[in-house]
Symmetry: C2
Subunit: 323 residues, 2 copies
């Protein structure tokens, strides 16, 4: 069934049913002019992302339920990078006339599965006509010890929370027409792009234990997001090329694996800085989360890459445009 047969009211009713509570702290959810949250003196942390067809995703690449998950999860990743945990989501959805209700249903199933994983309630939003599928998520969370981008200090060590460059390889495979299937290596890359995992638990632990001096999620690529952190912290950074977490799978598939790790976007790993005095405490998280020390904060402005023989090269932030 095409969407113009299903009116907005029916759709909202279905969504309201699908996302029914109980939602602790929520005084009023979907269905009125606005949602109401009862607060209890905490910090509310809010983020918002706009995802647009043919700019951020290609419909025929992205199974709708994975797109539903990703729409919420990229916002989750922003909260993870603040050391906050997510609680309430609002979804604005612009849908072309050509949209199939089956697609919309699967999108919501995915959105819901991601919400459920972290106990997030969908509390409101807006559905409207659009020329391209337009997804606008607002995510609210709570946090006590907020970790900002601008707190990195001289000689802090730099860590990332997992393999880099795989989402970019995944996108490359999609563009070549390769889809999720039987090839384990390819599936890993495709999943990195189609279904990234926000590092909520790690972000919370780092915040709770006060271990990270600065933190950001890697959405635009290490070179870009590390530059953001350094700018806000008024410092520079050195990255050790051979310490970058580049998986054997990525190396097997892609000659430019290290370039992808430095400049590929959408990995949604956390990048954070840690003072030497806290390395012992951090090492206790290593078993659960698998952390990679990739460099350190230096005084000289700019980002520098150091290779095994010790050669040092300035890295220019290289923002990644998908399509």
């Amino acid at each position: 069934m095409k969407l113009h047969r299903l009116n907005e009211k029916q759709l909202i009713r279905a969504i309201r049913e699908e996302f029914r509570g109980p939602h602790p702290g929520l005084a009023l959810g979907i269905g009125d002019d606005a949602a109401v949250i009862k607060t209890r003196g905490a910090n509310f942390v809010i983020t918002k992302d706009l995802l647009i067809e043919d700019v951020h995703f290609i419909l025929r690449h992205h199974p709708p339920w994975l797109l539903g998950r990703k729409s919420l999860n990229v916002n989750m990743s922003d909260l993870a990078a603040m050391g906050a945990f997510p609680k309430y989501a609002l979804l604005g959805l612009g849908l072309p006339k050509r949209s199939e209700t089956k697609w919309v249903r699967e999108f919501f199933t995915g959105f819901k599965s991601a919400a459920k994983e972290f106990g997030v309630s969908l509390i409101g939003g807006d559905i409207t006509r659009a020329q391209k599928v337009t997804i606008s998520v607002t995510l609210l969370g709570e946090g006590k010890n907020i970790v900002r981008r601008g707190g990195a200090k001289l000689e802090d060590q730099l860590f990332v929370s997992g393999p880099l460059g795989e989402a970019r390889e995944g996108l490359l495979l999609l563009k070549k027409g390769i889809r999720l299937g039987k090839n384990r290596q390819q599936n890993r890359m495709l999943r990195a792009f189609l279904d990234p995992k926000p590092r909520i638990k790690l972000g919370r632990e780092l915040s709770r234990l006060n271990l990270a001096s600065a933190m950001i999620d890697i959405s635009d690529g290490l070179s870009v997001d590390l530059a953001h952190m350094c700018e806000e912290s008024d410092c520079g950074a050195e990255v050790y090329l051979d310490k970058l977490p580049v998986s054997p799978e990525l190396k097997a598939l892609q000659r430019r694996a290290y370039d992808f790790a430095l400049n590929g976007g959408e990995d949604y790993q956390l990048l954070f800085s840690v003072s030497d005095t806290k390395l012992a405490a951090l090492s206790k998280l290593n078993n659960e989360f698998g952390l990679y020390k990739i460099g350190r904060i230096i005084e000289q402005k700019g980002i520098f890459v150091v290779d095994r023989p010790g050669r040092r090269k300035k890295l220019h932030p290289n923002p990644w445009h998908h399509f």
Copy 2:
């Protein structure tokens, strides 16, 4: 200058500068992964709207600064209808390559002027490429005595807060190529569509004095929004045709003035129900706000229009699609 010459970072820096504080209650604003609000045990009220070029507005019709104002003000209107007052806004903006920085600047000037009128702080958002200008606003406010849609009671009187049907006439004029100019009557209609005024103060007063049993803002048209209120309140309503606030200016310009008042959208007036016991208290607000009694709540489901000779006709909600 075309927008692709101005990168997102520069643009965000300019916006950050433009919307600099102080912002009471805000712990962290634009520039990190998320914004942080310190709460004090109040109700947070949240709404979100998506406005898309050629669906909700036509670029050549809408001066950018008025579009900036309207983007925020339609969300203000949702909070007004809850009896809440607005505090923090997040703006997601999708911009085509063809966008001129002059346009973007003027849009933000308008957004800021609307924000300033009600003391709203812009605390975050997202700027991205899009095929069509895509505006996604999230607005947070606070409210004590929240007024819902579903509280209307049998025999309550129905009120609206100002003239109806003018925004639709304004849009009609725009489509005919008529712009803001010297004609006072036409300007009034054009302004109703291009620069609607959210009834924040009235909404707050009704909430503070506990006068309205139910409230909604008229964005889709009286027939549609009254039907929403009645459905949520499990009742019906009668509307007296000759009591509808239809201005002499609209009557002079438009033969179908009463049809426009019933079915035209985007007036952003408040529609609310009041119990007989509170009419005396309500009348004290009449001087400041200009309220119009247009009907009453009845037991029989459905919306009925009663004309001067007392003929009663069922009104079918007639949602309004702009373009």
